[in-house]
Amino acid sequence: MDRDTDWDGVRLHVVTGKGGTGKTTVAAALALALASGGRKVLLVEVEGRQGIAQIFDLPPLPYEERRIAVAPGGGDVYALAIDPEEAMLEYMEMFYGMRRAGRALTRMGIVDFATTVAPGFRDVLVTGKTTEAVRRKDRNGRRVYDAVVLDAPPTGRITRFLNVTKEVAGLAKVGPIKNHSDLVSGVVKSPETAVHFVTLLEEMPVQETLDGIAELREAGLPAGGVFVNMVRESQLPQAVLDTAVKGRFDVGELALGLKAAGLADGAADASKAAEALLEEIVEHARRTELELKEREALVETGTPRYELNLLADGVDLAGLYELAESMRNQGAA
């Protein structure tokens, strides 16, 4: 069943975000959401942290595409943890048939060396492997994966990471690496790619998101949507929050309520408890105010925004499916 989504035609979903915003969680949930209804999606990790394995409660992933989850309505999520060294060997074998030379390079620490001296090389290997998966076709000429989700480096490094041609251009003006990076760039800068940002409704992550989007656009890379993660729904109506901030909250009414609920022993006890609870309300109101401001700042970017509620029980498999469903309901997948 095909539905309209905000990202029809996009095959490479790059997910970035500031540390602590839940980037890997969002990438995993997005992969599940995209796979729903019988599609095949590859979830890629590049930083060697084994975050995907942890989130899906699996043993560490090898450098190999394997099925890790079944999506709602029958779809498959495959996962791959890309190791730059393995990617290099594969690349040499695939394009040059140089398996033995590749092993020798690794043994001598050359791959380690080259990726250390020039991180652009490392990035081009990683993005190269990712875009290869995006482009890969089966015998009938159909794409093997309907979509690829890349759990990418954090916001601070994302433009540099994706802008491989520029990074490599200073090092290799001609030759195979240059050609390879041009190929990667062709995919990354095309309408088949969208770079999504994960943020919280807090000042620093929002600022980083705004800076990241601006940087990305300047580099001619396709900015995607913003996933606002760990959103806490307000329990209190805005009018009540306003009175709390202005110091006009009706503590007497709350005290009566507490007494009626059997939570306080006398009038004095009830009003003491009500005063204490008021502290929580005021704090909540301030927090909400701040969140509103941050949300408005995000609106100005003009990118689609998706809100993901805080998972009450922390991130587990059930939580991932919950987030995936929420993404689908909002049109992200």
């Binding site: 540390g19 033995r100 020798a104 991180p119 030759g175 329990q235 029980d313």
Partner: protein, 377 residues
């Protein structure tokens, strides 16, 4: 809530004149930089001459310390009657690297290195460069003797303790066969390296040329031979800084937030620091949620809200009770995450800093964080 963990006494560490270096480490997004700045301010207010070295390019932090920008030189932020002073600086990784090259190579060689495309790539984007340069800068500040307390905030690395690995990594890099291969022409009086090679090396050289192209290989060779002369000093300094970190007078503070990933990272840091025999002072847990009504449990609060809702009265109270229940649940979850850490590391002192409803914007904000950190003891 944490019951068994000993309490981290921040003031005792800051007041101890023997404390000369404080290293704040932790995963990204846990408030490491803010913790470092708050410690620096508190130290200055208590009479220390402190400098905060940060790698976080957040403008807000500079602004919170009343500076329009932070650059590679320590700038004075505040001074007090008791002689206390606070300085702050932000690491400019490339500038620091350039300075080392300039200090260690003759002008001609320095120029060769600085203009080489590989150097430019290495100095501005190598993921370990920032860690290494932070340690280098720390060594410089310490040797200058101008400050009696240096507080350093470590980079949010992919691998969180990269700064500890930097010296070793550099060593491995320098001693590798590949470096020797590339520097061979210089040592063999200009003859091509590859003529000297045996069959195995020949295979590799062929592969490299094919992969990288001849120009890249030549640039790489020039770069490595030029850098070769500078390397000795480099490594020695890296080792000195490493020893400085292990020495008495250094205190590592691991920073975390009460969330699963951050606490897991914190546990990893603590273990790793012990392995490296680095002096751990304790753990600071930022953004901990507590409640002024902690006696009213989530369960009781929810039950009361349900009852009021069923009776159709006191709508406001019911909503407030639900809000409170949510907060108690959050506090309980955070408590569990911290308990995991404490049961695995029962001897590590912990300080909890309550969540603030607003971000830090100025020195008052930093001071408030410092107060909360100290109040934990």
């Amino acid at each position: 809530m944490i019951r068994k963990a000993p309490v981290l006494d921040v003031d005792a560490i800051l007041d101890d004149r023997a404390t000369r270096i404080i290293v704040c480490c932790g995963s990204g997004g846990v408030g490491k930089t803010t913790t470092a700045a708050a410690l620096g301010l508190r130290a200055a207010e208590r009479g220390r001459c402190a400098v905060v070295l940060t790698v976080d390019p957040a403008r807000r932090l500079a602004q919170s310390m009343g500076l329009t920008e932070l650059d590679n030189t320590p700038r004075e932020v505040a001074s007090y009657d008791n002689g206390g002073k606070l300085f702050a600086m932000m690491l400019d990784m490339k500038r620091t690297f350039d300075e080392i090259i300039e200090a260690h190579a003759d002008p001609e060689r320095a120029r060769q290195i600085l203009t080489n495309p590989f150097y430019q790539s290495l100095s501005s984007s190598f993921s370990g460069t920032q860690e290494y340069m932070a340690m280098e800068k720390l060594g410089q500040l310490r040797r200058s003797g101008e400050w009696d307390l240096i507080i350093v905030d470590t980079p949010p690395s992919r691998s969180a303790l990269d700064f500890l690995d930097a010296p070793e990594r550099l060593g491995r890099f320098l001693d590798g066969r590949f470096i020797r291969l590339l520097t061979a022409p210089a040592k063999a009086g200009g003859r091509s390296a590859f003529k000297l090679l045996n069959a195995g090396f020949g295979l590799v050289a062929g592969a490299m040329t094919k992969l990288l192209g001849a120009q890249v290989l030549k640039d790489l060779q020039t770069f490595v031979s030029a850098l070769d002369a500078v390397f000795g000093g480099f490594r020695q300094r890296a080792e000195m800084t490493y020893k400085l970190l292990q020495a008495q007078g250094t205190a590592f503070i691991v920073v975390a937030a009460p969330e699963r990933d951050a606490m897991r990272e914190a546990a990893y840091f603590v273990e790793r620091l012990a392995e490296e025999r680095m002096p751990l002072a304790g753990l600071v847990v930022n953004r901990v949620h507590t409640s002024p009504v902690s006696g009213l449990s989530a369960a009781r609060s929810t039950a009361a809200a349900e009852e009021l809702e069923a009776r159709g009265e006191h709508e406001l109270t019911a909503a407030v009770l639900r809000l409170h229940a949510g907060r108690m649940q959050l506090a309980a979850r955070e408590g569990r995450e911290q308990d995991h850490f404490v049961s695995a590391h029962p001897t590590v002192p912990v300080a909890q800093v309550p969540a603030m409803s607003q971000d830090v914007h100025d020195l008052d904000g930093l001071r408030a964080i410092g107060d909360l950190m100290a109040k934990a003891s």
